[in-house]
């Protein structure tokens, strides 16, 4: 299998409002190779969930894709009719959402939902699907899987529900999984378990993962590559180790510096001045320039494109090229 599994090129998503169209995603481009875990990291409003939704074809109207291309396995999928998109979803592209409570239908048992998903995407009869479901639950780390088939979502804890959701996402044996903040609603201790599970299962099946999160810690321990988003644009992309320890974009560096860790002295947290721009107030040129300590006049006029800087690609006129950030 040559070439990337998923290619996103200059994706633009806008929301028409009475004040004109709001660009929520503005020229987003990245690739995911087969078997790779790509992290999409950014703060609220950066557009990362929108990117995931656009790829899976679940953009909520009035939002719409207004530019760019999405290619899955070489075929364009952003202009597919809804029926074809539905077939693609679940079978080739699986999705895991943030809130496990709402991802599962509370009125049906876990077993029912699993079997239904399996039989929709794979040619199995009821008994085979049931066996498969038990196996999936077991691989998802749920003890006493067979007994659990008849239970309902509310009888599970948050962490277990998320495991079931992961099992459901993997049921159709998809080649790409979009995971939108899968651990945010979980406790720290349970997060570690779920992340390990996700990583293990996808490595086994060879699926690629697009992991959307705001938690850099999760990115660091799960992903192969990471794309940093800010105000609807990708500002840096590269191997995880390079982006975290040698960021080239000032935003990435500032973001890393503001993450509380056990390693530093525990005095004052480094903070970024100002606030994330609202979608209707995105500055001209580089979106980050009002908050950037290195901004120059060019930054306010011309928008930088992603360009290779050492080991990562960063969209910055003055990338940081020497040494690791604080």
């Amino acid at each position: 299998m040559t070439g990337p599994l998923l290619e996103v090129r200059d994706l633009c998503v806008e929301f028409p409002t009475r004040h004109g169209a709001l660009r929520a995603l503005d020229g987003v481009s990245f690739d995911i190779a087969p078997g790779e875990i790509l992290g999409i990291v950014g703060e609220s409003g950066a557009g990362k969930s929108l990117a995931g939704a656009a790829i899976v074809g679940l953009l909520e109207p009035p939002g719409r894709v207004c530019g760019g291309r999405i290619l899955f396995d070489g075929q364009r999928i952003d202009d597919l009719p809804p029926a074809a998109m539905r077939r693609l979803r679940g079978k080739q592209i699986g999705a895991i959402f943030q809130d496990p409570l709402t991802a599962l239908d509370p009125l049906y048992s876990i077993g029912h939902q699993l079997v239904e998903t399996l039989r929709t995407h794979l040619p199995l009869d009821a008994a085979q699907a049931r066996e498969r479901a038990i196996e999936l639950l077991r691989r998802a780390g749920l003890p006493a899987a067979e007994a659990r088939l008849g239970q309902y979502p509310h009888e599970f804890s948050g962490g277990m529900r998320q495991r079931v959701v992961i099992a459901l996402a993997l049921a159709g044996e998809p080649r790409l999984i979009i995971a939108d903040e899968p651990t945010t609603a979980l406790d720290v201790a349970v997060q570690a378990q779920v992340i390990q599970l996700l990583r293990g299962l996808t490595q086994e099946s060879g699926a690629s993962v697009m992991l959307i999160t705001h938690d850099m810690g999760v990115i660091a321990e799960t992903c192969d590559r990471v794309a940093v988003m800010y105000a609807g644009r990708v500002v840096e992309v590269g191997p995880v180790e390079a982006v975290i320890h040698h960021p080239a974009h000032p935003y990435t560096a500032a973001l890393m510096a503001s993450v509380p860790t056990l390693a530093d002295a525990g005095g004052r947290l480094a903070q970024i001045e100002g606030a994330l721009p609202r979608p209707d107030e995105i500055p001209a040129g580089c979106a980050f320039h009002p908050r950037c300590p290195k901004a120059s006049q060019r930054c306010g006029q011309e928008r930088p494109e992603l360009a290779l800087v050492l080991r990562t690609r960063a969209a910055c006129w003055w990338p940081m090229v020497e040494g690791p950030a604080a």
């Binding site: 406790d187 321990e221 056990l262 390693a263």
Partner: protein
């Protein structure tokens, strides 16, 4: 009582008086079971011990952080400390007076007590009335407690907003026009408006983005230092607590399992649960990964394990742990509720 004296000792590094105190606080919630169930199936009234015999002290001007996962009772404890809820056992004390008794007693004393306490809540969306302008929201405590005249309100509010980094022109806007981080700042402005002496912060940064969290935490640390506030800081994130706390307490299923000064907790955690929490913390810049695996999940609070609540998940549990509930005992400068530590096995 030796445990309480020991609590006094561990809660301060210097010889300050116990300004804020929790004495054997307990809060039990009884769930409604239909009488048919109770009759036919003989299920007793189900109870959740959200807070179970918690004692600690905070010296004046210091910050105690309480850490634990969701469901461990820390929010309930926060409400008990400011009198928003009535304890089923024990009592909360502020400046030598029983909080609940004072609030329910003479109006003057109650008002004086209320003026000393304030709270910052977790959800920036639900903690501000969506129908009120933020100028009114920030001014409400001042006006309600009769600390200023309505005519002076505008000026005071402008000063408070400036103190938290918001513009004076924002006074007429509504909460939904602000971001989560800005809303927390408004909450902070409201909380410090009456110049309280005791501030309870219930997970104030949990719903905020990383960079916003940094701003808000820095702001809170600055304000606390400027105004010499005594703080109770509740969080599920052990790492965040490092930047704001002087002492740290760890809670599990409503019980306090460890209470220690900050350096001790992070460099020499005693209780197995504390160690587990620390090991589970994600550190993006740590070179060694993955994190240590965490065993099991929080048990159902309706059916807590017998003996030590943590024993099903503890690698060091023995028979005694299954039968006997450990008491919070001093171990050096630290208090730990663990048989293994007491017996010297850890």
């Amino acid at each position: 009582m030796s445990a309480r004296d020991a609590a006094d000792g561990a809660g301060r590094a210097d010889a300050g008086t116990a300004w804020v105190e929790a004495r054997g606080l307990g809060r039990t919630f009884t769930l409604d079971t239909p009488w048919t169930d109770r009759l036919l199936r003989r299920t007793g009234a189900r109870q959740v011990h959200a807070v179970d015999d918690v004692s600690f002290t905070i010296a004046r001007g210091r910050t105690l952080a309480l850490v634990g996962e969701s469901g461990c009772g820390k929010s309930t404890l926060a409400r008990l400390m400011v009198g928003l809820d009535v304890p089923t056992r024990g009592s909360a004390w502020l400046a030598g007076a029983d909080v609940r008794a004072t609030l329910g007693g003479a109006p003057d004393a109650a008002r004086a007590m209320r003026r000393r306490m304030q709270m910052i809540f977790q959800d920036p969306f639900a903690s501000l009335n969506p129908r009120w302008r933020i100028g009114d929201i920030v001014a409400e405590p001042l006006l309600e407690q009769g600390l200023i005249l309505p005519a002076q309100a505008a000026e005071r509010v402008a000063a408070l907003l400036a103190a938290v980094g918001l513009r004076g022109a924002d006074v007429r806007r509504f909460p939904h026009q602000f971001s989560g981080g800005q809303r927390q700042r408004i909450s902070i402005a409201r909380a410090i408006s009456t110049r309280p002496e005791f501030l309870v912060c219930d997970e104030p940064t949990s719903s905020l983005d990383v960079s916003v969290q940094a701003q808000v935490l820095n702001l809170m640390v600055d304000l606390q230092r400027e105004r010499a506030l005594t703080c109770l800081f509740i969080s599920h994130n052990l790492v965040v607590v490092r930047y704001v706390a002087d002492d740290v307490g760890v809670m599990y299923l409503g019980r306090l399992v460890e209470l220690a000064p900050k350096p001790e907790i992070f460099h020499a955690p005693r209780h197995p649960y504390t160690r587990m929490l620390l090991a589970a913390v994600p550190d993006p810049r740590a070179r060694e990964r993955p994190r240590a695996p965490v065993i099991g999940e929080m048990p159902d609070p309706l059916a807590p394990p017998a003996g030590c609540a943590f024993h099903p998940r503890c690698p060091h549990a023995n028979a005694r742990c299954r039968d006997e509930r450990p008491a919070l005992l001093p171990s050096g400068a630290v208090q730990v509720a663990c048989h293994a530590v007491e017996e010297g096995r850890l």
